[in-house]
């Protein structure tokens, strides 16, 4: 085991260190031996389908739940025993709720700003997420996307060092997602470490420095978005019309195959199609078929 974790005040200490984390609900093993390390200042995406254990893990890391076993350190402390000072250093954006309906955006942001020792200027953060026009509106009058942006404002107004975003853009239209992504990037530039769970592949690809793909409470792949897309290499799909029937081959050497096909067909190769699996194909393969033995032991 690396010993860097033994001096948590050093800048190299990870923001989050998870070892052998397990949590079950009755017979269902929601988190099944998770090992992850999130460095300070990175955007770390946890990507997986519903039920993969993303929310459970996030709730353990943010101190809402206690793990069955394993060790968790968040900003150098055990979240299940951490106090006010620790909570003042994190920001949590949980999945959507419809609470606090009778208060206005500005009232809520100002109120939450008071809870923290070094909060951001309420009006500035309201501007930042584009809610200035809605500052005086009671939250029951907000659209789903505006409501979600309010959740984010309340999560960042305390100037957190570490921000948990649990499926932040569910229900956003494409434009709202883009502006949300740029907000997250700005936060990272300002030095915030971001833990982002999502079931959108493109969100992880766009935002994350590293992506952990999880399935059934285990990590099945962990890499940079570029690294993940390299998993597609060497598996090109070649398809053509072989006298009325469609033939398909997956090959590491597509050029050689096409050269052979050209020899067999003096003119055009009928119905020729050459396709690289997309990152999405790789992802679906990782999280889809059960019983696949991937890199879960890394």
């Amino acid at each position: 085991m690396p010993t860097a974790a033994s001096s948590p005040t050093r800048p190299s200490a990870p923001a989050i260190d998870i070892r052998g984390l397990r949590k079950a609900y009755g017979p269902k093993q929601a988190v099944d031996g998770l090992d992850l390390r999130v460095e300070r200042g990175e955007i770390f995406a946890v990507l997986g389908p519903n039920g993969a254990g993303k929310t459970t893990t996030t709730e353990i890391l943010s101190g809402f739940r206690v793990a069955d076993s394993g060790e968790v350190s968040v900003l150098g402390a055990d979240p299940s025993h951490a106090g006010r000072a620790w909570r003042s250093r994190i920001g949590v954006v949980l999945q959507s709720t419809d609470d606090l309906a009778e208060l206005t955006v500005a009232e809520l942001v100002r109120q939450f700003a008071r809870y923290y020792p070094h909060s951001r200027d309420p009006d500035e953060v309201i501007d930042l997420v584009g809610l200035r026009d809605k500052a005086g509106v009671r939250t029951r009058g907000l659209s789903g996307g505006q409501r979600r942006r309010l959740d984010v404002v309340l999560g960042i107004v305390g100037r957190p060092e570490l921000l948990f975003l649990d499926e932040p853009t569910t229900g956003f239209d494409p434009q709202a997602r883009r502006s949300f992504w740029s907000l997250v990037r700005d936060l990272r530039v300002a030095g915030t470490t971001i833990w982002l769970t999502t079931h959108y592949l493109d969100e992880a690809e766009q935002l994350a420095d590293r992506v952990a793909v999880v399935r059934d409470g285990k990590v099945v792949a962990l890499d940079t978005p570029e690294g993940l897309s390299r998993l597609t290499a060497g598996r090109t799909q070649v398809r053509w019309d072989d006298g009325g029937t469609v033939r398909e081959e997956v090959t590491e050497r597509p050029t050689a195959l096409v050269r052979d096909l050209m020899r067999d067909h003096p003119g055009e190769v009928p119905g020729l199609e050459i396709r690289r699996p997309s990152l999405e194909d790789v992802y679906l393969e990782l999280v889809g078929a059960p019983g696949q033995d991937s890199e879960e032991d890394r």
């Binding site: 609470d99 009232e107 939450f112 008071r114 020792p117 060092e161």
Partner: protein, 288 residues
């Protein structure tokens, strides 16, 4: 092995955290704003006792209670006799019903969970609730007394001792109601059912505790049942403060029973505290 320890950053944050009392005041102001904007709360908790007072005083105009009581000068007008019970009901609504409902809703809709993720101390959250309950109770009680005095000519006591009694019954009743409200907030299974679960409890207690009928006219078993609960004692305590001393003859015991009143209210206060502290949850039951 990762040890539990606070980093230097946490220690720095610790030193500059805002104080719990200051945050309690901030919470009070937010809670009050929420309360007055919530139409249900304003009608069924704030306005209801005032409306009941107006209805009772109007319907029973000219009638008296206890005309055979010696020294009561031909009996006590209905409006005067019922005012203390309505004041007690108001306190129960603004403390017990208000908190039992609002905390159940806040637990269900995620408000509590959201607050739990912030450095807001639990103390400040409860201080905010207490502040809200106190403010609403004081304003409501003052309006009730003013309504009774100005619209229905109910005489107010003019000696300090009576107001002293009024004050301790008010404080003890509000405190017991508030902690019992916190404890009871765990009973409704969801925020939507909170009103339906809490309201009948309050209504039944009003009927058996002598709020709408003179307590002495209720059947004995009903009096015994009511005597277990705080509202009967709050109403009796308020009568002891707001009615002339001769009216004590109208009580079941023939006296005001101040020691017993204080004892029952204190017992409920302690019980509410113990149960409330043990059962309070930041999350819904179905949320792990």
């Amino acid at each position: 092995m990762i040890q539990r320890r606070l980093t230097q950053e946490t220690a720095r944050a610790e030193a500059s955290l805002p104080g719990a009392l200051r945050l309690g005041l901030a919470r009070t102001s937010l809670e009050l704003r929420q309360f007055v904007r919530e139409r249900d709360a304003m009608i069924f908790i704030f306005a209801y006792p005032l409306i009941m007072m107006a209805i009772f005083a109007t319907v029973f105009d000219g009638q008296v209670v206890g005309s055979d009581v010696p020294g009561a000068d031909g009996g006590i007008p209905y409006a005067q006799y019922f005012l203390p019970g309505i004041v007690a009901t108001g306190i129960m609504l603004t403390s017990f019903q208000s908190l039992a409902t609002s905390i159940a809703v806040e637990r269900d809709d995620g408000t509590l969970k959201r607050l739990r993720a912030t450095p807001l101390p639990a103390t400040s959250y409860f201080l905010g609730k207490v502040g809200q309950v106190l403010m609403v109770s004081i304003v409501q009680t003052a309006l009730l007394l003013a309504l009774a005095r100005l619209a229905f000519d109910v005489p107010m006591p003019d000696d300090a001792a009576a107001w002293g009694t009024f004050a301790w019954v008010f404080v003890l009743g509000t405190a017991a109601g508030a902690v019992l409200g916190v404890a009871f907030s765990s009973v409704p299974r969801s925020g939507r059912s909170a009103g339906a679960v809490v309201t009948p409890v309050v209504l039944v207690l009003q009927f058996v505790s002598g709020v709408f009928f003179p307590f002495f006219s209720l059947p004995g078993w009903m009096q015994s049942v009511a005597s277990v609960f705080p509202l009967r004692w709050m109403a009796q305590g308020m009568r002891s403060a707001l009615l002339p001393p001769e009216a004590a003859a109208l009580e079941v015991a023939g006296t005001w029973q101040h020691a017993l009143t204080a004892g029952v209210l204190l017992a409920w206060l302690v019980l509410g505290l113990i149960v409330g502290v043990r059962t309070f949850r930041w999350r819904r039951r179905d949320d792990g």
